[in-house]
């Protein structure tokens, strides 16, 4: 299976500030009543965007900028809570191809990486600068360089981080691990054979 090498993500950016934004907020549970991921994009952040009266609320995701953006700038512990892959799936289907934040919940991070969506982190101060910059300069493109580990916007540039395994997978086009996992079948059998509880029953 050959996948695209993701060395850079370029595009307009949307700031969605706030820490501890959980996956129930990103995609409310009622939209998990489905057997495919199709159509999840339109429900991303649904209950943050629309009030109980059905009227749109002021939320970054309701702006024109959201429709034009492919990078989301978030806070700390983004994507905490449930393991639902529906969360990155809905944002990806909405149009976001990368995230920049202070930190990411682990399962969200893994789910995104396997979709080929980089989640890079900046230091607290740098993140505040970037968030401020994109809110003031919505038409200036942001570039995430996964290989060089930088985020640049206009004449500004910040140092970014990402788990080295995720970086390696993204830039070599092996962000979906299935091919590598299938490769070692004989080794898998050896490991399994040594585990009493697997061999029995």
């Amino acid at each position: 299976m050959s996948l695209a090498k993701i060395t850079q993500v370029k595009g307009l950016a949307l700031a969605v500030p706030g820490d501890d934004i959980d996956t129930d907020r990103i995609i409310p549970a009622r939209f998990l009543r489905c057997v495919t991921f199709d159509g999840l994009g339109e429900h991303a952040f649904r209950d943050e965007r629309t009030g109980p009266d059905g009227v749109d609320r002021p939320h970054p995701m309701n702006s024109d900028q959201a429709k034009k953006s492919s990078i989301m700038v978030v806070g700390f512990n983004f994507g905490c809570g449930s393991s639902r892959e529906h969360a990155p799936q809905s944002l990806w289907r909405f149009g976001f191809k990368a995230f920049v934040g202070g930190s990411f919940a682990e399962i969200f991070f893994g789910n995104s990486t396997t979709l080929g969506v980089p989640c890079v982190t900046l230091s607290k101060d740098d993140l505040a600068q970037l968030s401020d910059f994109v809110q003031k300069n919505p038409t200036i493109e942001v570039t995430i360089d996964v290989e060089k580990l930088t985020v640049t916007a206009g004449d500004k540039s910040w140092k970014a981080s990402i788990a080295s395994s995720a970086r390696e997978g993204l830039i070599t086009g092996k962000w979906d691990p299935i091919a590598d996992l299938l490769e070692g079948a004989s080794k898998v059998e050896k490991t399994a054979g040594a585990l009493v509880y697997v061999a029995k029953n």
């Binding site: 500030p17 706030g18 501890d20 959980d22 129930d24 907020r25 409310p28 549970a29 009622r30 998990l32 009543r33 489905c34 057997v35 495919t36 209950d47 009030g51 109980p52 806070g75 512990n77 905490c80 809570g81 449930s82 393991s83 639902r84 892959e85 529906h86 930190s103 919940a105 682990e106 399962i107 893994g110 789910n111 396997t114 979709l115 788990a163 080295s164 395994s165 995720a166 390696e168 070599t172 092996k174 979906d176 691990p177 299935i178 590598d180 996992l181 299938l182 070692g184 079948a185 080794k187 898998v188 050896k190 490991t191 399994a192 040594a194 585990l195 009493v196 509880y197 697997v198 029995k200």
Partner: protein, 468 residues
């Protein structure tokens, strides 16, 4: 070299190092449910791959199952479609399914232990973030995403980075009316909802030694609320006793060897931890959340924090929380009116939870303004409770007695909050909208505190209501 349980289990299951530096880790036990598996089976079909070890995957249905409706088709056609998809997938691939007609269906994190599938020294994965529950048995158990469910189905392995290990020691004896739920809420409050990122939590100390397996499960269950993907307790005689005789437990001839093997996985004396935190059981009081993250918690007799006392980032979340919860900073939480009481979930829907509440409930009545429901986490729990007459005690007190499932823990079945109802809940998440209404409000607490709230109609101290 002295090793932690985490390292030993990891080493025993490591297949190889992948080109990106991750470990290919063998997953001995895979649990699936109806919400996060259908897309994984779809991917498997697209790739034309078989399930590699079908006898090591076990399925049940929990999130979408209505708790007040047995007959199919369910009134929600999507729920019906989801249960049928799981029936088809498990049948096509030869996977054992604890379906609703087996008498063994229940929340996935209850079914594994009940069946004796959850065992020490094993790796367990499930497309569900509360999989750490199984760590109570000394297993390394991860919550995974749907693409990873595909990986396990196709290869019985995952690509993972090892975790650091933080030992969280709680010593001493909990005071009456203080429970395992209070312990984990206290830990999360202390370490933060993201304090566990990158860590596995090893829970230890005399408090955990004295805990039953069910109490250990309550704590391990909420590891993820503290940011830790995985949490465990070292296996001991209580662990082995719990497993003995269950359907998937080792047979008599293999029993002694199994116990010896299981014991060998416990962390060695003198092993190195990446971090150690120590708490004293006597310091913990009944704990309740006031906000929209599980870390926003206080003792029942404390005031909610004043905004000025919080740092800038916490203040932002707190402002949002107070607005959503319609609560006032720097005032007591005690006395806050509730509308709904929910007793259930994979955190606190076990037989010991029901027994403990029933013990105090006799002679009390749920306040007329409160809707109170009790939802055993599994069919086996429900049957056991009925055998002991617990259902009658709950019904007599004014609770609705329901069938097994996730119920009001999350909004995927008919049990939902309406409008801005406030729910006293024994579940694990107080996120905005979690219980099915966008403006609905959740306060997390122990089962006995839920019962006290149901009776008085307000958030209150169970120790006073029940003279504990």
């Amino acid at each position: 070299m002295a090793k932690t349980l985490f390292q030993k289990v990891w080493d025993a299951h490591a297949v190889t190092q992948l080109p990106n530096g991750q470990t290919q880790l063998f997953i001995g036990t895979h649990l699936i449910h109806e919400v996060t598996s259908p897309q994984a089976f779809g991917m498997l079909r697209d790739l034309g791959l078989p399930v590699k070890y079908p006898h090591r995957t076990f399925a049940t249905v929990d999130h979408i199952v209505p708790t007040n409706e047995i007959k199919e088709p369910y009134s929600d056609p999507i729920a019906q479609e989801m249960i049928e998809a799981l029936r088809k997938n498990t049948k096509d691939y030869g996977i054992r399914f604890f379906d609703t007609n087996t008498g063994q269906q229940g929340i996935v994190h209850m079914v594994g232990p009940e069946q004796g599938i959850t065992q020490p020294g094993t790796t367990i994965a499930c497309g569900d973030s509360h999989t750490a529950t199984h760590g109570a048995f000394g297993a390394i158990a991860f919550g995974i995403g749907t693409t990873q469910v595909r990986d396990v189905l196709a290869t019985q392995t995952l690509a993972l980075n090892p975790l650091k290990v933080r030992r969280i020691e709680v010593n001493g004896k909990l005071k009456p009316g203080v429970y395992a739920k209070d312990v984990i809420l206290h830990i999360i409050r202390a370490l933060g909802v993201n304090g566990g990122i990158g860590f596995a939590y090893e829970y230890a100390g005399s408090t955990f030694d004295n805990f039953s397996l069910e109490e250990r499960m309550t704590v391990c269950n909420m590891s993820i609320e503290g940011g830790a993907r995985c949490g465990y307790v070292n296996p001991d005689d209580k662990t082995f006793e719990y497993i003995k005789g269950r359907p998937f437990a080792p047979q008599a001839a293999d029993w002694d060897a199994s116990v010896t093997r299981w014991k060998s996985f416990a962390s060695d004396p003198g092993c190195k931890y990446d971090d150690i935190k120590v708490y004293q059981a006597e310091d913990i009081r009944p704990t309740v959340t006031w906000g929209i993250t599980p870390g926003q918690a206080i003792f029942i007799d404390e005031k909610m924090p004043a905004l000025e006392t919080l740092n800038a980032a916490d203040r932002l979340t707190a402002e949002d929380a107070y607005k959503h919860m319609k609560l006032t900073p720097n005032t007591p939480i005690k006395g806050t009116k509730i509308d709904v009481a929910f007793l259930g979930s994979c955190t606190n829907g076990r037989i010991s939870d029901l027994r403990e509440v029933a013990k105090y409930l006799k002679g009390h009545k749920v306040k007329s303004s409160v809707k109170a429901i009790v939802v055993p986490g599994s069919m086996l729990t429900s049957i056991q409770a009925q055998k002991e007459g617990l259902d009658k005690i709950f019904i007599e007190a004014g609770f609705e007695w329901r069938g097994a499932g996730c119920s009001m823990c999350l909004a995927m079945n008919p049990d939902k909050l309406v409008g801005d109802q406030l729910c006293a809940s024994s579940s694990n998440r107080n996120f905005k909208g979690r219980q099915g209404s966008q403006t609905g409000r959740t306060i997390l607490m122990s089962p006995l505190m839920v019962a006290a709230a149901a009776i008085t109609g307000e958030v209150t101290d169970a120790r006073e209501v029940f003279q504990v």
